[in-house]
């Protein structure tokens, strides 16, 4: 191999700190963090980015992202990001929120941030369960899915139907880009990365609200090993939460 040289093709992005995460083995939060960090690196945005961590398993995300970060109250990240962005239009703002945070307690804030066309980027982690509090039913828990607060499986007659947030938010005129991806295999992880890149480009161009929903695993609370959990996303979540772009305005298409 005299005529070959070794090239670095994959390394830890600068927008992540060196901190070890507290996430369980196989938790896809780590993948989502990395994709966001890579996007910030590639677009050269790290130095002017402000992030908002949620309440939930990613509550300590501010230790992992190498950007200025604040910690929001449960569900209020879009409001906090709105305040930051309005007072600092030159900054890049992202929130990182789980399904309990975004689709339950923060449903009001996310709808209005999207409706206003708030020029922020939302990374929405949907793992169909409350992770940090120990596996309770989430607004995205599937029918029949057993959780510690739906021990017989989610009963639609009691708890109603799971919310499809990307579909819901895509109906709002202020939403410029809304996409749902999945982290269950490398092919989909690469697609999710592209969506995240697009979302930040939308914000850079000032086109309005952008959100990328990521179907994610919670092996611990689903009571599965990491590999099994990724399979569960593919077999159970993807059919109910179909993947793809839900809102791509003409301005976004022309980016």
């Amino acid at each position: 191999m005299n005529n070959a040289e070794e090239k670095l093709v994959f390394e830890r992005p600068r927008s992540l700190t060196d901190a070890h995460t507290h996430y369980c083995p196989g938790c896809t939060h780590g993948i989502a963090h990395r994709l966001v960090a890579e996007a910030l690196d590639e677009l050269g945005l790290r130095e002017r980015t402000l992030g908002i961590a949620p309440v939930g398993c990613a509550v300590l995300a501010y230790y992992y992202f190498n950007v200025d970060m604040a910690e929001a109250a449960h569900g209020r990240a879009p409001a906090m990001a709105t305040g930051m962005k309005r007072a600092n239009p030159d900054k890049i703002l992202f929130t990182y929120q789980g399904d309990g945070d975004l689709a339950a307690i923060g449903a009001g804030e996310i709808v209005h941030a999207a409706g206003r066309g708030e020029n922020i980027t939302v990374i929405f982690i949907n793992n169909a369960i409350y992770g940090m509090t120990g596996g309770q039913m989430a607004p995205t828990t599937l029918e029949g899915q057993k959780t510690t607060s739906s021990p017989m499986g989610r009963d639609i007659s009691i708890a109603g139907h799971p919310l499809r947030m990307s579909e819901l938010l895509a109906t709002l005129d202020g939403a410029a880009y809304v996409a749902r991806g999945s982290l269950h295999d490398p092919k989909h992880i690469r697609r999710a990365k592209k969506a995240i890149l697009t979302a930040f480009k939308v914000q850079q161009a000032g086109l309005g609200f952008s959100m990328v929903e990521l179907l994610s695993a919670c092996g611990t609370n689903w009571k599965m090993d990491p590999v099994e959990a990724l399979g569960w996303i593919k077999d159970n979540m993807v059919p109910y939460f179909p993947l793809g772009d839900y809102k791509v305005t003409d301005a976004v298409k022309n980016l």
């Binding site: 402000l50 961590a53 501010y62 309005r86 600092n88």
Partner: protein, 356 residues
């Protein structure tokens, strides 16, 4: 600047603009709404941030976000709206970011009504949210004082990295009086060294109210308590009216302080030596001065538009052996000077009987 006729809410808004307000987030609620309406035009014309939020909950969290970046930011509301803001206020207090809040109190509890009230003394001085903290609370009695205090509030909020609440009842928010506006300050360009501005050429910064370790959370609390102690030391404000020779001291804040002053004059015309002690800072409460005054007066009468809330602070200041009387109306009823005079006269008669 000449004296002009200003409506309280609008005067508060203009004074905040002049203090260098960068961003306002609020939600309509009577009797505070004119403040929001005024800024919806004024801020936008100046190219500054104004946003009508979807709720008080969202408004206070927008304020929290902007405050994390070290800019001058405020919101305003009235009693039920402040209840919704308590979540955000607690996070803001723990995160130690400067925020100014104007509370134009109305009758409660519940939806209550839109009449003036002082029923939220406990809420602003004691219970602005969960956990151990006290905002710095300033209570104006006139439109001019409202202007001066809100102008000062931004400096105090930054100095102590704390929440400053300017609390007034609906009377002050709604009435028109002559007031002189302070000079227009430039919006500060530089940001404090804790602010989130982007990790450009420095370590990334974190603003959080979460401390998982018990000792670390205790350390945060001790820091907050130290700050509160400094505020107690340096930020006590009050006004006195004819207390030097007073026999009966009326203690009242805001609108009631002003009505009590008229009542005291009426009492003096009838030969009763009455004076007025009006706390301007409700937190820190001027307890030392009140204790001092209790040694020279025979009786203290606390007058409030509530069931007796500042009354607790007065009793704590003067001790259980000193005779403290209370007169209060609720539900948005504003006592007239005559009503207060009647109580003062009764106390005066009792004092005369005791001396015989």
């Amino acid at each position: 600047m000449a004296r002009e006729l200003w409506k309280g809410n609008e005067a508060l808004a203009e004074a905040s603009v002049r203090a260098g307000l960068v961003a306002y987030f609020g939600y309509p609620i009577t009797p505070q709404t004119e403040l929001l309406e005024y800024l919806s035009l004024r801020m936008v014309k100046l190219g500054r941030a104004f946003l009508q939020a979807e709720s008080e909950l969202a408004a206070i969290n927008m304020v929290y976000g902007a405050a994390c970046t070290g800019v001058r930011v405020m919101t305003s509301s009235s009693s039920p709206g402040i209840s919704l803001m308590q979540e955000g206020l607690s996070y803001i207090a723990a995160s130690e970011v400067p925020v100014v809040l104007v509370d134009i109190m109305r009758g409660g509890p519940g939806l209550g009504n839109i009449q003036p009230s002082q029923g939220d003394y406990f809420q602003v001085t004691r219970a602005a949210g969960h956990g151990d903290f006290h905002p710095l609370v300033l209570a104006p009695a006139t439109v001019q004082e409202a202007v001066d205090l809100v102008y000062l509030a931004f400096d105090l909020a930054e100095k102590y990295r704390t929440i400053v609440i300017v609390v007034a009842d609906g009377n002050i928010g709604q009435m028109m009086e002559p007031a002189e506006m302070p000079p227009m300050r430039k919006v500060k360009k530089d940001r404090p060294d804790w602010a989130l501005t982007g990790a450009d050429g420095r370590e990334h910064r974190i603003i959080t109210s979460l401390e998982l370790g018990a000792e670390r959370l205790e350390a945060l609390n001790l820091r907050l308590q130290k700050k509160i102690a400094r505020i107690r030391q340096a930020e006590v404000r009050y006004q006195e009216h004819k207390v030097e020779d007073a026999d009966i001291l009326i203690a009242a804040f805001g609108t009631m302080g002003r009505i009590s002053q008229t009542a005291a004059e009426m009492a003096r015309a009838k030969g009763i030596k009455a004076g007025v002690f009006r706390p301007i800072s409700l937190f820190p409460f001027p307890d030392e001065r009140l204790e001092e005054l209790s040694r020279q007066v025979s009786r203290i009468l606390v007058v409030e538009m509530n069931a007796g809330q500042m009354l607790d602070d007065v009793r704590l200041a003067v001790g259980k052996d000193f005779p403290v009387e209370f007169y209060g109306r609720m539900g948005g009823v504003v006592p007239l000077p005559d009503d207060v005079l009647e109580v003062v006269e009764r106390i005066g008669a009792e004092l005369n009987d005791e001396q015989r």
